[in-house]
Symmetry: D3
């Protein structure tokens, strides 16, 4: 089993030294879903929960949160971010969220992609919670990573 | 169906005026779960993924994120926060997360509780991702709200 | 002439003590304008500079900046914010911006309203600068204040 | 007309990928003006609105805001900043503001320079608003850009 | 010995609930000192390490940091701040720093006063470190607290 | 005596241009101490002031503050941070704090290391202040710097 790299010999948390890692182009894609009701989705479709703004607000929240990742996650390295896209896709009773982050730096950007998805989800819930206080964020996870020493990683089918 | 309160007549996002709302004691409890592997949970149990620090890091990240909620969620009001607790409970192949936030202010604190749960989950994933890159955040949702005009709200059994 | 209240006897900057001020409902409205080209406004009108998102991005940036005012302005007090609206109104070769902020606290919210207008303007320029690198922010100023000891203040016609 | 680069095919906002852009030395100079009264300028000249601190506070606010640009402008890339200077020049009934920002990175720094000017202006207004509540920020714009693919850009005389 | 209030029964950190505490006027004064060389102090006295700006920069940094206290200290409550003053007093080979913070809220402001002193000290060191890389921050401590259940507390002479 | 580099000809603060400096690996180690009582240290030793969490909270606060350095210190450059470790070592009536920061960038990281030490100290005081309101932060200083034009610098024995 691989060694956990965020802890030193005494078990204390530390931000691991990445000086020896190569600067390479790295990308990560994460996804998640906000489960709500058909009524909320209909409000989106009918433009009564004005689609542009509710989804735009969540999208912008996700993009901005990407840049706040090292402020939120204690041991995350502050890194350059070269590009971010956040997509929200309404379906029957849910909104799918996908975020892709790209950099050329010494560490991967999967935490940035996961942060974009979760904060977009939180912002969407904030927009709809007056109609559906029981909305849920589900299945937030990394789908694909590229770059770095390990190259491409794709989520196994059985997880 | 209740009216969405975050949008004005033209559909533009705005931070709604809460001046007319009463200052009352309000609480919210949210929960979620990080699904991982039995191997990771065993590392936690054996102290090889040093329990104190991995869970402590996630707990502190969740508490601190509570205070950043209005920075992350575009239309959230900045409010006083009187107390926050974040609990992480390891099980077979997952870690349950629960956060309770308390205030005495004009708006509810469910977004703060949801933010605490998700950021604690993100920080936990950051601690274990070298061992389990496929860890997932699931079932993030409000369980209980008290205070305010609507009084107590508890998640319905069928959601 | 009234005394400047942000400096002590020795001329050093300080955040003045507002403990003695009353908690009252206070509002402030500020306005400004981004001057650009008819071509940019036409792109907005034709939906080729997609209206929803460019204006929505600026609007959300303005609302979020309202909450960051005490982080940006050294001597501003951190206060509760009860409501914020930011409006962007395209005209011939410009976009008018108006922000209204409301609180019930011990200090006025004119700095918050001015910050909302300027950051909305900056975000709008960021959206259009590939088409018009010479866009300008003009006439950022307080139009109306209510509440507090001095009551209502309206910008004089000759300023 | 050049293509707007901040929007994808569906019109949704995104942070464009700059991976393909060269790392070059880039600078941007922006200017603006705070229009106030001769009385305020006289207070500055007489040291009664203590020059050092009022202007120093605005200058420091502008420098610090430069570093917050990606937190404020939703689609701005977080980049290295190699140097910032902010100058405030009192005149008859106004204070001129000029900011120059320098980097060696993949994107220009005009948004950083514009942010420095506007926040310095906001901080200056905060210092003088007890004396002049009608002070105005005007003519905030980029004067000069160097570096990057397009090389030097200077504001045209007719804008 | 009084009970530590930041930990729950299981030893986990939490932000304690202050709902039951009274809103009273509370103040705290903290002090500290930056020890440097007579040469640095002479540069300050001769205006060659321009007094206004080096001390003004440190003073403003201290005031602004006061507002960031809950962002920095994990279990600190976000509270209203009614006033802050930061004084820097050069002596033979050191600069004394004193900060007083005032609020009317449910918790004391000693952490805010200590944060103001330390960040002012850090900013001062940043200004002089090219001349004295060995400058030291010493004796950062609370001198006086007023308000709250315990009333006035003054540092004992033997500490 | 070396020239102060943070001020321009007119004495105004500016963020100096580091474009001409080399990107080299740079490290800095800073130390400090929180002086408290034997009773507090015994509570730590007995696990009644639960060691894991009190020290873990301070450690994480120090690591996170490292990343906030340019937000706190007005003229600090925002830079990449490659690694951070913060150690807390309880002794008779005090807790020693040591922080080491590593980067490969154009400026040194001594301000980052000093910020890590002071914020870890502040967070520790926040954890123990209910038991010892007179705890003091002492002797915060740089011990060792490596990298950059001047190479290794070690604190002289007489400072």
């Amino acid at each position: 089993m691989s060694e956990l790299s965020h802890v030193d010999a005494s078990g204390a948390a530390r931000m691991v030294d990445v000086s020896a890692k190569d600067v390479t182009v790295r990308t990560a894609t994460a996804t998640g879903v906000v489960r709500t009701t058909t009524a909320v989705i209909e409000l989106i479709a009918a433009g009564q929960l004005p689609k542009g703004d509710a989804l735009a607000t969540a999208r912008i929240a996700g993009i901005m949160a990407t840049k706040r990742t090292p402020d939120l996650i204690p041991l995350c390295h502050p890194i350059a971010i070269h590009g971010v896209s956040v997509e929200l896709t309404p379906a029957a009773a849910e909104v799918g969220i996908s975020a892709t982050v790209r950099t050329a730096d010494r560490t991967g950007v999967e935490m940035e992609a996961l942060t974009a998805v979760t904060v977009a989800g939180l912002a969407l819930i904030d927009m709809i919670k007056a109609v559906d206080p029981a909305a849920t964020i589900d299945a937030v996870r990394v789908e694909l990573k590229t770059g770095g020493k390990t190259g491409q990683w794709r989520r196994p089918a059985d997880r």
